[in-house]
């Protein structure tokens, strides 16, 4: 039976792993590769390495960081996000150890390139990040660089979703805040018709249980709060007993 997934998110800014609050305020946490290695040891179902400020200006993916992460020899599936400009970048990111890529700017700037990425990696390896907010007038999709918001219903017609396996629905406004994810964003699943990864303000097993009860939600991303306690991934999984998710894992050198 296919399990749902708990994704450990590591947000990187200026080479530092950071706590991010609404992508507006940041607090340093430490070295990204050390956080990734820790999530690997904790048995996260996937790890998302989210490098911010790579597309504006367009400096491309952080290959150096990917190499450092790869050198650790992690055995957890890795999703990389940040600065992917096209097919060549995507291929290189995968050759440096990522299993899947997440794209944002490329979806709007060069939708045809998304097809090229999907053709060379397989649709299963391509995820779209859609930073979304619920407004009285409906759901709005944010463009991080311009700051403009556009009705999601319109954006969907322009986005190359045929070449995407899953969508990460990011509640960017509540991102980093405890138990703040806006549940009404789930209405986006009717528009998107894609499996959803929810991220942004999700910190408790109570929220995760409620979100995973929804058929279209296949995975949950958790960021900041994973850094507050030991065995944070395992603690969430323990509380999710009964949900179709892999049980918690505690490493032992004697096994």
């Amino acid at each position: 039976m296919l399990n749902k997934r708990l994704i450990g998110v590591v947000t990187v800014k200026n080479g530092w792993a950071v706590q991010s609050f609404g992508y507006r305020r940041y607090l340093p946490l430490g070295k990204p590769e050390v956080l990734v290695h820790n999530l690997d040891r904790w048995g996260a179902d996937e790890i998302l390495l989210q490098c911010t400020d790579r597309s504006h200006p367009s400096v491309g993916p952080d290959f150096e960081l990917l190499r450092k992460v790869s050198d650790l020899g992690i055995s957890t599936p890795l999703i990389y996000s940040g600065g992917i400009r096209g097919r060549e970048d995507a291929l290189k990111v995968v050759s440096f150890g990522a299993d899947r890529v997440m794209i944002d700017a490329l979806l709007k700037n060069a939708p045809a390139d998304v097809e090229a990425v999907a053709r060379v990696l397989g649709i299963q390896a391509v995820i779209a990040n859609l930073p979304t907010k619920n407004a009285p007038e409906g759901m709005l999709l944010l463009d991080y660089h311009s700051g403009h918001e556009m009705p999601l219903a319109e954006a969907v017609k322009l986005l190359p979703l045929d070449w995407i396996s899953e969508v990460m629905l990011t509640d960017w406004y509540h991102e980093g805040y405890s138990e703040a994810f806006c549940m009404s964003l789930l209405a986006a699943s009717d528009l998107l018709r894609k499996p959803l990864i929810c991220f942004g303000g999700i910190s408790t097993s109570h929220q995760i249980r409620a979100l995973l009860a929804n058929d279209s939600v296949v995975a949950i991303g958790v960021g900041n709060s994973l850094n507050y306690k030991e065995h944070a991934i395992q603690a969430l999984k323990k509380d999710l007993f009964g949900v179709a998710i892999r049980p918690p894992y505690y490493e032992s050198s004697t096994l």
Binding site: M1, L2, N3, K4, R5, D40, G43, D45, S70, G73, I74, S75, T76, P77, L78, V94, S95, F96, G97, A98, D99, R100, R119, V120, L121, G122, I123, Q124, A125, S165, E166, P195, V218, A219, R246, Y249, L255
Partner: protein, 205 residues
């Protein structure tokens, strides 16, 4: 555990680094190569792969590796195909256009029927009591694919269930085996399976 030499076929496709590190962490000597002399000398040959079947086969042809791999298989070399590498073992694939594969195990690579992609951790159901696979029976491993390699049941070493339908998760024909999932990204279960395969296949003729 004895130290084995493992050669990862370098044909310009795929995520070799993780696979190489996984074998090295298990204590085996592991190198990426497309030199026939070296690959002929190794205990286990690994065929990795990410992406599309037609371009992968094209890359193998351009390096003149296709007949070489077929010969190695018939001579009893232990071969492990990973993900797309497993699919390349097939006779034919229907991805994009109909393309001939290595033909080491009968069967066809065809699109997943239940949805576009199979992504995530899913539990293996081991068939035929294969001792190399039995220890990971009912354990979850990580899948990330949109095509499946359907084989005659006798070559299906393990299957996996999605929405009530079952699909091939692993194949084996003597010294040649293939894994649809990513053992190098399946944490402890994956590492232990890779170790058993390296030990077991190198002795199976």
């Amino acid at each position: 555990m004895s130290r084995k030499t493992i050669g990862i076929v370098d044909y310009g496709v795929g995520n070799h680094a993780s696979v190489q590190r996984a074998f090295q962490a298990l204590g085996h000597a592991c190198r990426l190569s497309n030199e026939k002399d070296f690959l002929a000398s190794v205990d286990v040959m690994v065929l990795p792969g990410v992406g599309a079947f037609p371009s992968a086969m094209q890359a193998l042809h351009s390096l003149d590796m296709v007949d070489f791999i077929r010969d190695q298989a018939s001579e009893g070399k232990a071969i492990i195909g990973l993900c797309l590498g497993m699919q390349l073992l097939a006779e034919i694939s229907l991805e994009h256009e109909s393309t001939k594969g290595l033909g080491l195990i009968p069967g066809t690579v065809q699109p997943l029927q239940y949805s576009a992609c199979h992504i995530g951790w899913n539990a293996l159901e081991v068939l035929h009591q294969d001792p190399l696979f039995m220890p990971c029976n009912r354990m979850s491993v990580y899948f990330n694919h949109s095509y499946v390699f359907e084989v005659p049941e006798i070559y299906r070493a393990a299957r996996v269930s999605i929405d009530g339908y079952s699909y091939t998760a692993a194949v084996r024909k003597g010294n040649v085996c293939g894994l649809q999932f990513h053992p190098e990204k399946s944490q402890t279960v994956g590492k232990q399976l890779l170790n058993r395969l390296v030990e077991g296949l190198a002795h199976a003729k």
